[in-house]
Amino acid sequence: MARMTYAQAACAALEAAMRLDPQVVVVGEDVGRGGIFGQYRGLQTAFGAARVIDTPISEATIMGAAVGMALAGLKPVVEMRVVDFALCAIDELVNQAAKARYMFGGQGRVGLVARLPNGLWSGSAAQHSQSLEAWFAHIPGLVVVAPATPQDNHALLAASLACGDPVVYLEHKELWGFEGEVAASRRARLGEAEIARPGSDATVVTWSRTRHAALEAADLAERQGVSLEVIDLRTLWPWDRDAVLESAGRTGRVLIAHEAVQVAGFGAEIAATLAEESDARVRRLGAPRIPVGYSQPLEDESRITPQAIAAAGIGLARDHRR
């Protein structure tokens, strides 16, 4: 057990994987200097510039080269700086990485981990603050992972590297310095949620940084006599239906809270599943369908706060209409 930041935890998991498997390589901008968030610190010194490859600002070729590397036997970790820039590589991710194994009839496969830091980034405005997990969950072939804690960033990165599928790995832009205890030996299974806090009156289903807002919200609700259960999905594709349906069966009320725009967000998929497969009353809380503004009061309009989650959760718990 060691205390680490979210960035250090991922770096430690990657270093361990690179020591075990010489096929694991890193490819992206500024990785030699440790990455802009320190999530690759020390790796080029340890493994050399042929395995920790500094690239030009060529997102399409970073992602496309990773596809070629994977088809020819390497296991690349793709650094994309922020998810917003991955839109410059969307053909390579969606048309190539996600499709190659299928359309070539299984002759090759694309085991890669594309790290696309997701979510709001304070003061960074519309092109650096998006939450695009629903886009990727929509694409057959892709796995979508969104760790919220240092422990999960360690264990889920290791699991992603091991799974052999193309993984969209969505670390959160504002969690890099978040500290927590990490047990390097602890494993995580892709597709398995965690009950971050048990509760009985309503369930909050969430992921990524919103897990922490939801935990704060549960504290606020408790003071008002409402018990919220918080489920951190951790993996969005495949998402843990069983855990959500089980909790919904107990509480009968589910609030899905996420930082992405609410309209056609991944919460809609969960809500639809609950409508089809449970009797639970369901609500969603996501960002309004506006670009993220620069100025603090504008940016705040897009933030999902603990207060907002608590209010929605309490309202849902006290709603006894049929």
Binding site: G68, L71, M103, G105, G108, P140
Partner: protein, 335 residues
């Protein structure tokens, strides 16, 4: 090392071209009615969807791939039958794939546009223009990690040089001194638009040179010219000299896809281009008429057997639509 072109090699190049021509002629015939575009409507056809023919461009595939080993890797384009055949794929499994059968290279999941034979290092045709360039860059990194002097050969068309991955990929390959031969197979038509009308400057080679990737230009209808130029450039790449580019200028005899009659082209100019058929040019040079006729017959017989096999081959099981998607979350097809 430059190799001399002897009679045996000349016949081998001719044989490759003849096999590509025979395969594509048969595929074209089997595709009639297979796509609804360019005013055509869909009807019963054995080869479905867009079929991009490289008829008239066979000398580029044959001349370049004659220098490649099985362990070299290749990325191709939507017009990739020739490259695939020249790299060593079997015509029968290719035809089965075009027919959408289970015994095709891709199990019926790819068809013409995604034809691939990884067992001979052919990493796939691609439905997106220029998409093979970044993939070639990554494959070259993998070859470097493996050690040895294998190379990647990356084919793309003249239209691709107007897409970003051309700049990105050549720049990266030059900076990293990667073992890649880029081949711009310039058939002078980008879909239904003359490339010259949408391309500034002098084209692929000049652009490559500006990035620091040396290369050469060759008459892409002259298989010996392609063979000689590619041989020299590939030797430099194998020796660790970094990437090179071959700009092979040829002509697209057919339309963009098989149902495109290409009526937008000037008929007189088109007829003049047809006089430069690469098989005819090579035959004139080789002589040996009876031998060449026999090679042509063998190629057509091989294709006839491939067609018969494809007609008889079983369809994929419906369940195979759900295989090779992904392992993580397999089975979760509806939520």
């Amino acid at each position: 090392m430059r190799e001399a072109l002897d009679a045996e090699r000349a016949l081998a190049l001719y044989r490759t071209m003849a096999r590509i021509r025979a395969f594509e002629d048969a595929a074209e015939e089997a595709s009639r009615g297979g796509v609804a575009a360019f005013g055509a409507s869909l009807s019963e056809a054995k080869v479905r969807g867009p079929l991009h023919l490289s008829t008239g461009q066979e000398a580029v595939a044959a001349g370049v791939c004659a220098h490649l080993r099985k362990s070299d890797l290749l990325t191709s384009t939507h017009r990739g039958h020739g490259h695939t055949i020249a790299k060593g794929a079997a015509l029968e499994r290719m035809m089965c794939e075009l027919f959408g059968r289970a015994s095709g290279y891709n199990g019926g999941k790819g068809g013409s546009m995604h034809i691939a034979d990884f067992s001979v290092g052919m990493l796939g045709a691609n439905g997106v223009v220029a998409a093979g360039i970044p993939i070639a860059v990554g494959a070259a990194h993998a070859l470097r990690a493996r050690g040895g002097d294998d190379v990647v050969c990356c084919f793309f068309g003249d239209g691709a040089i107007n897409r970003g991955p051309f700049l990105e990929g050549l720049n990266w390959a030059a900076v990293q001194a990667l073992p890649i031969l880029f081949v711009c197979e310039d058939n002078r038509w980008a879909a239904t638009t003359a490339t010259a009308t949408t391309t500034a400057g002098a084209g692929a080679l000049v652009r490559a040179q500006a990035i620091g990737v040396p290369g050469a230009q060759a008459d892409g209808n002259d298989v010996y010219a392609v063979w000689a130029a590619a041989g020299k450039l590939l030797a430099e790449v194998r020796e660790g000299g970094g990437p090179r580019l071959l700009h092979a200028i040829t002509y697209r005899v057919k339309g963009h896809v098989s149902v495109d009659a290409a009526a937008y082209r000037d008929a007189a100019k088109h007829d003049r281009e047809l006089e430069r058929d690469p098989l005819v040019l090579a035959a004139t040079r080789i002589g040996m008429r009876e031998t060449l006729e026999a090679i042509g017959r063998e190629a057509r017989d091989e294709v006839a057997a491939a067609l018969a096999a494809a007609h008889a081959a079983p369809w994929p099981e419906r369940q195979s639509a759900y295989t090779d998607v992904q392992d993580t979350g397999a089975g979760r097809w509806r939520g």
